[in-house]
């Protein structure tokens, strides 16, 4: 929304503006933003609901069965062979989902292959990157990756914050990423879908296999709109892989590796509730507010992430729901053990899940019919015929900063370093009641500020 141009120190900011020959304009939030980003014309923020997209959705090429094996067996021998068959060349865009989080073993190999093939100037378009992708820094230094568009966590965020990347970083919300693909703003040449389980046709699911991650919704747009789609798995099953969260009919090649993910870094074995007395206190207040405001009533809905405070909120709320004999119709998640317990105790009819955060979430989405697989299309895409986000009665989110005008920041720290992804945060602001339960201070740094470093969500939402 507001973006990048308060997130760096002023000197570095001006250096990048001059290096990239950027022209800046003031957007509706009063922030200076570039008119072009990485060679693409931008649409500066106009205010909530003020921009109406026009035109037609992006359209992938029509394919023909004549070019695919009639046996349905699309397995090729290696990642490199698959990339060659997809016609990988300089300047292309390679995408992936981040359901493997910090346990991903695939994407470093993909860019190592690109390096071995002598490819340059790629755009990496993950739904998010993690510390495990630190070696991409070498690929950026050597020009194999030109720049990254996607949420940046840890070392990559640090690298970019220091102005070392050639192109500009573009962070998008989950919904914003779907929109950018659907609307044709980002054209994906090759999508990599790491899959905990797949059949040779490319039907794939995230809910089982040694690298089980729950679901694959963040890769759905990639599979639908990319020119070429490669499924990479370490758990090949006979056709048909049921359920299929990714449809083999959208897949070009299947690559089987020994290991695609580190299970303990993909999902936690257990979910940690915050132990901070302050945060617990804030979480309890939040739950009490939701009850006192009359939001917690029969058939209501809420969303709470896996962050310490949000998790504690859900636990307080659960007790209040039990006491009051109130049942939710649905919970939007990031699923955890605690939300699964609520489903299995009958405190909600459904979990509409975007990603599973722990092993209980994975088990539940595999076993419970009421634990439902969603995607940014269903939940967050603003350029659609409605989405789920606006139907939520209450949403509890985090923030790195909130200012006195209720503008909030979620990607940068107060020192300007961009260390977190946006996730579904911006999309969730459209709920009926969005709550940011934050402390006034963290590590002696004020969290309530006069003006947020990076404006990620406008106060009016």
């Amino acid at each position: 929304l507001g973006g990048f141009y308060r997130s760096l120190n002023k000197n570095l900011e001006m250096e990048i503006v001059m290096r990239e020959k950027l022209k800046l304009v003031k957007n509706a939030a009063g922030r200076l933003v570039p008119t072009m980003v990485n060679g693409v014309k931008t649409i500066p923020y106009k205010g909530v609901g003020k921009y109406s997209p026009k035109g037609l959705k992006a359209a992938p090429p029509i394919r023909s069965c004549i070019d695919y094996p009639t046996s349905g067996n699309k397995i090729v021998g290696s990642l490199q062979e698959a990339l060659k068959k997809c016609g990988l060349k300089n300047g292309m865009t390679i995408s992936n989902h981040h359901h493997f989080r910090n346990g991903d073993l695939v994407m470093n190999q993909v860019f190592d292959c690109a390096a071995a093939m002598g490819i340059k100037n790629l755009r990496w378009f993950p739904s998010a990157s993690f510390p495990c992708h630190k070696s991409m820094i070498d690929h950026m230094d050597s020009g194999i990756i030109h720049h990254i568009e996607g949420s940046l966590n840890g070392p990559l965020g640090n690298y970019v914050s220091e102005g070392k990347m050639k192109g500009l970083a573009v962070l998008r919300s989950h919904g914003g990423r779907w929109q950018s693909i659907q609307d044709g703003e980002v054209h994906i040449d090759i999508a990599i879908i790491a899959a905990p389980t797949s059949d040779p046709f490319g039907n794939a699911t995230g809910d089982r296999g040694p690298s089980a991650c729950g679901l694959l919704g963040f890769g759905l747009a990639d599979s639908l709109y990319a020119d070429h789609v490669i499924v990479v798995t370490d758990n090949l099953v006979d056709f048909p892989c049921v359920p299929w969260q990714i449809q083999g009919n959208n897949v070009d090649h299947v690559v089987v590796l020994d290991k695609v993910g580190e299970p303990n870094k993909i999902v936690s074995g257990t979910t940690q509730i915050t132990k901070s007395p302050d945060r617990l206190y804030i979480a309890e207040f939040t739950a009490k507010f939701v009850k006192a405001a009359g939001i917690m009533k029969e058939g209501f809905s809420f969303q709470a992430g896996a962050g310490g405070t949000a998790l504690a909120f859900a636990i307080y709320l659960r007790e209040m729901m039990k006491e009051a004999g109130v049942k939710a119709r649905f919970i939007r998640a990031g699923s955890t053990k605690y939300l699964v317990e609520m489903l299995e105790e009958g405190l909600t009819d459904y979990i509409l899940d975007g990603q599973t955060f722990d092993l209980e979430g994975v088990r539940s989405i595999r076993e419970n019919a009421g634990h439902t697989n969603t995607s940014p299309f269903t939940s967050y895409n603003w350029h659609g015929k409605g989405n789920f986000a606006s139907m939520l009665d209450a949403v509890v989110l985090g923030a790195t900063e909130v200012d006195v005008n209720f503008n909030a920041n979620v990607v940068t720290h107060s020192d300007g370093k961009m260390l977190h992804g946006i996730g579904g945060w911006q999309n969730c602001l459209f709920s009926k009641c969005t709550i940011l339960p934050i402390p006034s201070f963290r590590n002696r740094i004020p969290i309530i500020v006069d003006e947020v470093t990076t404006l990620v969500g406008p106060g009016e939402l």
Copy 2:
């Protein structure tokens, strides 16, 4: 493939050619076909695998949540109101799925609304029409419907066969219909999705509700590619309707009627096996062939429809599988009680289902995780990255005629009357072994002929 131009008597044929000012060319099957059909340039059949589609898929308009209710409630008061909101006007294309078969109560009302609104020259684009749609003849006579593109059964087939329709009939296979929408050959202005169960957002399923029809796959392309989508239901449930076979995110309006279908005409209470000794004998031969040819082995797959002989084939095969201790990996269906029994007895891991033919099929797809919802996209679309049809080890189909060059006919009788739909028949020909178990004669009319009346499937397949 071959088409229309042997299906009528010569005089009527020439009359239509002259009336429509058609230019005819000889296609690769040696049949004269028009170069233009209903104002659209045709691609005459070039031979199996000889035509490669080019270009990009059709792209529906980008929408914005700003134009849809944040509550997710898209219910409007009546069909007519929904059609008005969709901007219904002269010359538009209105589509629907045929999962309600001869029990559909929606589409006659839709065109009655169009008549009341004074709309003319509509193209009706159903996945199939049935005798219950007989009143569309009045709408064609009065010019409300210009012509129908879709499989024609019974009275409408008769009407068209007599040359009374203004435009030309176009019959497509299930896969061909998907292709025509996906490739942009047919642009749907308004799609009507009759839904046994829906929520106010438009998430819809066919597997439950008083008009349960099993699944809604024939309406999937319509929901994805149409400019406007209306869900019509008689069983409204609170959001979310889970499972959703049609995604509310593709739906513009929801209309609630007292009754959308006649349950006993949507699915049969029971499935009838043929009682004809000849057909039973042929069915048994077919099953014996499948066994003797080594096709019936552990992990194999087959498809058999709900026709009398195909059904009997499945029953013979089941006994042989039990005797031999052989289990199938999957059965493609048209599901019936008998296939459901095979699933529940463990004789197959999966039923990959395109439509349910009886109440047991409906129950099973609702209850059995191995009974899987498919669509023409997964199974039949030839303009995709492979499809399921080519993976089948054996497929048993019907035919109205087969000629000495193995060309077959499935839409016209030997008298030239077009009385049946193509269904998935053409698509299924791509299986590893396609069997047409037909008698030599039916009602004293030869079924094995020198040359089929209408060439629907070429002998080489």
